[in-house]
Symmetry: C4
Subunit: 218 residues, 4 copies
């Protein structure tokens, strides 16, 4: 049987706006179902202090929730920044995005593990590896899309390309260090995981100030 | 290592329309998963009256659901009204929105607490503090975006700015009073929580009538 | 304290497209979380026939799922048809939509009741009342929006208004009859509930054929 | 009672963009709630190896998750490709899409079955039949929309129509074969289920290369 040829419109038929719409839905859902994994205390005839105490004992759950939520926020921002420059989609980009979303969608699983077993190094390493994988797929997508300006605006500033590639490598490097810190203290690791989005969120302002203070050379 | 400079397009790359899309997804999800926390009665071989009775015993759950749902509806409307005026996003606005969504996403947790322990003052105070925090972050976002017309339309009417700021303070004030009422009766507190969106929903009509009846001075 | 006047842009600030976006999210979620309520059989060391048998015993769950899913599909279509004509939103329309979405969001709860207690008349009546309420809110929204062409296109055909109002009354009438049938047989009731969307889906084709065969008088 | 005629705008009132929005929401949700079905291990006072071991024992769950996720990714892409060509919606297309979404929404149920009973042939056949049904509804929708170019662009290339119809038949054929393989090994079946999206994702590139290498005859 001869293989049917592919229609020539195929490559262009998947607009990047649709990938963004699917991502928005996925991020919105993951950010909101995260909380479903935190068990609401069930106590028969509680005294006035039973509920507050039970809630305080849940602190590792809330810590995990917080870390995952701001990591998701950062990833969502980073992905949108990416699609600001990516103008076309091809099969490879599509499946890299699917892999990215698959990793995002499994965040509630590892977050629940962290909430239950914060003191277990294996769990903290696994969670860190999860975050690391998300940031690496993000970096790989940048690299793929910008190589020879494959999928980005053909007039995209080469300096901008370089900046985004380098910046998208900062996150995985910090995650690697944080995973290493788990040999000292698992809570320290998780605190560093939490700092990444904050650093990432602050860097642009620092950059912007530096850039403004020197002449543009492009 | 010299820090890579930030690309100059960064600030403008996150369109407010995308923040709205993420918010729509998050609100839609929270409003629909709220109901998953209400346990469907499980009774083996029930008589004709067992199920109705079991449903009636769930009334605190339905009350909590109702209060949270209309509060979410009000917050969603308020946020959209806000983004009607906010024309640009910066990092601070973005992270204030993330904080806002984090508080929205945890509503199912405190709603379930209310449904289970409506008679516990600590729970009613916690739920009220949650609602208060949501309304305060909303107010802070208004203040940040409108100060020196930082992120809003440069021609936005100063009177309108003032009105929105003042109006977004009414809600937290009522929540504070309602929290205080929990010392008298927890159910009374929750009823007042429920009234806030109704009042908020009615105010515009009252305002509109007053405004129409006096000449515009802008 | 003098009440701050409402900004004059308020009424127009909530575009109907945003209400549609929230509704799309809510419908999409309810349609997909419905299935989470069907319990996946848990059997240790099952024989080849244990799982099929356990799945077959779940038939009332699947029936409830099917009825609710197509009812949701029909309601989603009906709401979009409505917003095809509704051009503006006001506070009343907004809160009618919130009430509509609240009823939609609680469908998984009553659907699970039906799946568990299909033979209980009280449950079948409650579910029917739920469906009836959804269709009545839909009708009320039509009536509100079209009275004096309040929120619809000022050139909307009066005949079309009349048709939509009448058609949106057919559904609640059938639901009422179906609730009555529960006195004969609860399964019969549910089957009639299931037929409503199919009838509603077929009517337009019948109408279209009739309309085409007579001259237009508008 | 004479039936009220249908308004003439009805057919055009449901824009395909809205169907796409509902689908995006549904796909995004199913892809993210899939993971909720994987039970997070609960172990009191675990040793360092207990959690890793418990996670490894969950491999059938992760396999099922992976297979379903990439199948959903493929279906989402296929549906968008379809709606790239489909320009109008009618009642039949709408209800075919509803049936499609109903099948998509139940994927978490059969995926959980696979995760729990990977060694049960009945379960693997049921899951395969589910995937087969999804691909057949997709094919039927193509056939319906393109027959006499019913709902597609009237200038759509007839060769393209033919290609899409044929290509949308490859998937169900492979699923049929994979179901048959379950008589040899259930794991083998599931591995072939997993390969389908990868093949489907690769075919376009192969086609594109072939097409470029021969002159266009249209």
């Amino acid at each position: 049987m001869a293989l049917p040829p592919v229609p020539h419109e195929f490559a262009s038929s998947l607009r990047t706006s649709r990938i963004e719409a699917l991502s928005d839905a996925a991020f919105g859902i993951v950010m909101t179902i995260l909380v479903l994994e935190i068990p609401v205390p069930e106590i028969d005839h509680p005294t006035a202090l039973d509920i507050p105490r039970a809630l305080i004992r849940l602190w590792p759950m809330f810590l995990g929730y917080f870390v995952s939520f701001i990591m998701l926020g950062m990833s969502w921002v980073a992905q949108h920044e990416q699609f600001h420059f990516v103008k076309r989609a091809d099969q490879a980009l599509l499946w890299m995005t699917m892999l990215f979303l698959m990793l995002i969608a499994t965040v509630p699983f590892t977050t629940t593990l962290i909430g239950r077993y914060l003191e277990q190094q294996a769990v903290v390493v696994l969670y860190g590896a999860h975050l690391l994988a998300i940031s690496l797929v993000h970096h790989a997508t940048w690299r793929y899309a910008t190589t020879n300006r494959r999928l980005v605006d053909p007039h995209m500033d080469l300096e901008d390309v370089e900046i985004h590639l380098r910046r998208s490598l900062i996150t995985p490097v910090i995650y690697l260090v944080a995973i290493g810190l788990s040999f000292l203290s698992t809570v320290l690791s998780v605190v560093v995981y939490a700092l990444v989005p904050l650093v990432y969120g602050m860097l642009p302002s620092i950059y912007a100030r530096r850039k403004r203070s020197r002449p543009r050379e492009s």
